[in-house]
Symmetry: C2
Subunit: 335 residues, 2 copies
Amino acid sequence: MVTMTEVARAAGVSVSTVSHVVNGTRLVATATRERVQHAMDMLGYQHQPTARSLSAGTNRTIGLAITVATNPYWVELIQGIDREATRAGLNLIIVDTRDDARHESVAVANLLAHRIEGLITAPADGWRELTLPMLRDHALPYVLVDRITPDLRVDQVGVENEAATIAIIDHLISLGHTRIGMLSGIPGLSTSTERVHGYHAAHQRAGLPVDPELILVGSSTTDGGRKATWELLQFDDRPTALFAANNSMAIGALAALSAAGVKVPADMALTAFDDFPWADLFSPGLTTVAQPSAAIGARAVQLLLRRMNDPDAPPQTVRLPAEIMHRQSCGCVSR
Amino acid sequence: MVTMTEVARAAGVSVSTVSHVVNGTRLVATATRERVQHAMDMLGYQHQPTARSLSAGTNRTIGLAITVATNPYWVELIQGIDREATRAGLNLIIVDTRDDARHESVAVANLLAHRIEGLITAPADGWRELTLPMLRDHALPYVLVDRITPDLRVDQVGVENEAATIAIIDHLISLGHTRIGMLSGIPGLSTSTERVHGYHAAHQRAGLPVDPELILVGSSTTDGGRKATWELLQFDDRPTALFAANNSMAIGALAALSAAGVKVPADMALTAFDDFPWADLFSPGLTTVAQPSAAIGARAVQLLLRRMNDPDAPPQTVRLPAEIMHRQSCGCVSR
DNA sequence: CTGCTTTGCGCAAAGACTTGCGCAAAGCAC
DNA sequence: GTGCTTTGCGCAAGTCTTTGCGCAAAGCAG
C-alpha cells in the first residue's frame, strides 16, 4: 500500500505538506502542490481516512441504521439520504436494524466501531432503552426519521401524519361517507398514533361521531390488514369506506375485499397511507397519501450536519407535508 | 473516550496485556484477566477496531455494494447476507450502488476507505471496467451475487436461471400452450440472457419451434412489462401464455392484461420469475419462480470467508435451485 | 540446591496520518 | 539596507492498538 511517506519522498516534501494538500488544511504553494498531486497520481496513492480518524478524530462518515424492508417508502427514504449525503461530501454506510431493538443496538455498535460522526436512524421500539444510552455515551450526533418521539428533545424529521390523515378522511366524508373503517399500524409507534389522531380529528371537525369499533389494529402488515378488513366486513352496519394506515395493510384490504366480492369503490371506497409505484396498476387504482420520502431523507441529513457543527443547537422537529394521490379507489372519479 | 491505556492503568497492567485479553491472542493468568475485564466494565471500555486495523491490518468487516431497490428479491438477499455475516462474526456495512457503474465505483471506494476485508457485490453493468480494477489493486477478496459473469474466474452465487426457466416453460407447454410470449429483462445482464436461453431450451426439448417475435424486451421494469405485453396483444396470432422474466414486468403485464380485458388464466396464462409477498393477493394468484434469496446471500458470505482465508483457492460458481410457486395464473388449477 | 523449561507479562516499535509550533525565505515599507 | 509581516514548509509529538522480543518468576527434575 502506498502511504503519505512514499508520496512525500517522491515529491521531495515532508509528509505534513502531503497531508495538507490532501486535506486543503493550509496554504501550499502552487508549484509544490502540483508536484505532490503528480506524485500521488504516479504512485496511485489512496487516502486512508481510517488512519486520519485515529489522529484527527474525523473521517466524514455518517451511519444509517434502518430496517431493510421491501416497503418502497423505506427504500426511497434511504435513497434520499444517500443522495444528500453524497452532495454534502459525506460518506454513508448503512446497517440493518431488522426493526428490532436488540439487533439495532448491535448494529449501531458496529457503526460506532467504524467511528462514524453522526447517525440517522428510524428507531425500533425499545430504542430508548438500548440504543439511546450508547449514543449519549459517545456523544454522537444523531437524528431520528419517520418515527417522532414528541417527549424527547432531539432532532427528528417525519411527515405530517395527522394533517395528511385529516385531509384524506375529509375527502371521504365530503363524498358522503359517514362510517369509515380504519386499519391502524403497529401500536406504540408514533406514526400509528398520529394517524389515529388524524382520523378522530377529521370526524370531530365534520361534527361526525366516531364509532371506536371501526378502528382495528392491522399491525402494518399485509396479513393484519386482510384480517382486520375481514372483521369489518362482518359488521351488520358495515363501513362504506376504508382507510389503511400504510401500504401493506392496503394490499391486505384489497385482497380481503376482492375475496369477499366487495366492489371498490362501488361497495366500499378505499384509501391508504403510503404511495407505492404500482398503486395505480391495481384496478381500481389506489388513492393514497404519498409521503415525500426522499425529501424527508435529505432533510434528515441537513439536520444532522447542523447538529454535527453545533452540538448545542436547539433540537428541531421537522414535519413535511404529504400529498394525496387521487386515483379511482376513493370513488371521487377524478381522471 | 476510554482507551486501552486507561484500562491498563486501572487494572495495574500494561496495555499489551489489555490488548491480549481483548483479543485472546496469548495466555493471560486468570486473575489478571479478570482484573482487566473488571476494569473494562467499570470504565465502559469500547474497542476500536479502526485503530487495530492500522497496526494489525484487520477489523473483521465486510462490505456489501448493492442497489437499494424496492424489489423484495434484493431485500431478502440483503437480509440473508446480514444474518450470515452476523453468524460468522463479521460486521457488515452496506452502500448503495444505484445500479450504476459510476456511482458503484465511488461507493466501493468508500468501503475501501473503511478498510473492509472483503466485498460482496451485485455488479452493475460496466463494473468490469470501473470497479474491478480497484478491487484488484487492493487485492480485495470479493464475491459476486445474482449476476454471474461466466468468462471471469471469480467466486459468484446465483440461481439456476436456465433450469428454473425451463421448468416453468415446460409447465406451460404441458398445459397445452404452444405460443408462449416472453418478457425479457435488462439486456446485457447475465440473468436476462440465461432466462432467454432457458426459454429456448424448453421449446427445443419439447420439439416446439420458437417464434422470435414472441420474445420482447421489457427491461425489468413495470412499465417495460406493460408496454411489451400490450405489443404482444396486438398480434393476430396472439400467444396464449406469457412468461415475465422478473416480478416488476409481471406486474406490468397484469396491468396491461386487465386494461385490455384479457382474463387470466382463461384467455392468457401468466407466469413470472421472482416471487414476492403479495403475489398470491392478486386474483388470480401469480404463479412464480421463487429464488432462494436468503440462501444465495448466506452462500455468498461463506464463499467470501473461504476466499479471505485462502486467496488462492480455485474460484467457485454456485448455482442454487429455484422453486416454482404454483398458484392460479398458470391455469393448472392446483390448490 | 542447581539449571532448565514453562508461564506470564512488559517494553517499545510500528502503522498512517494530523497539527501546533517554529523556522526560513520572500515581500514590503521606510 | 533595516526591521516587520507574510508566505511556505518541516519537525516531532500525538492518536490507539498490535506484536516481536525478551525478561522475571515459578515449576520441576535430578
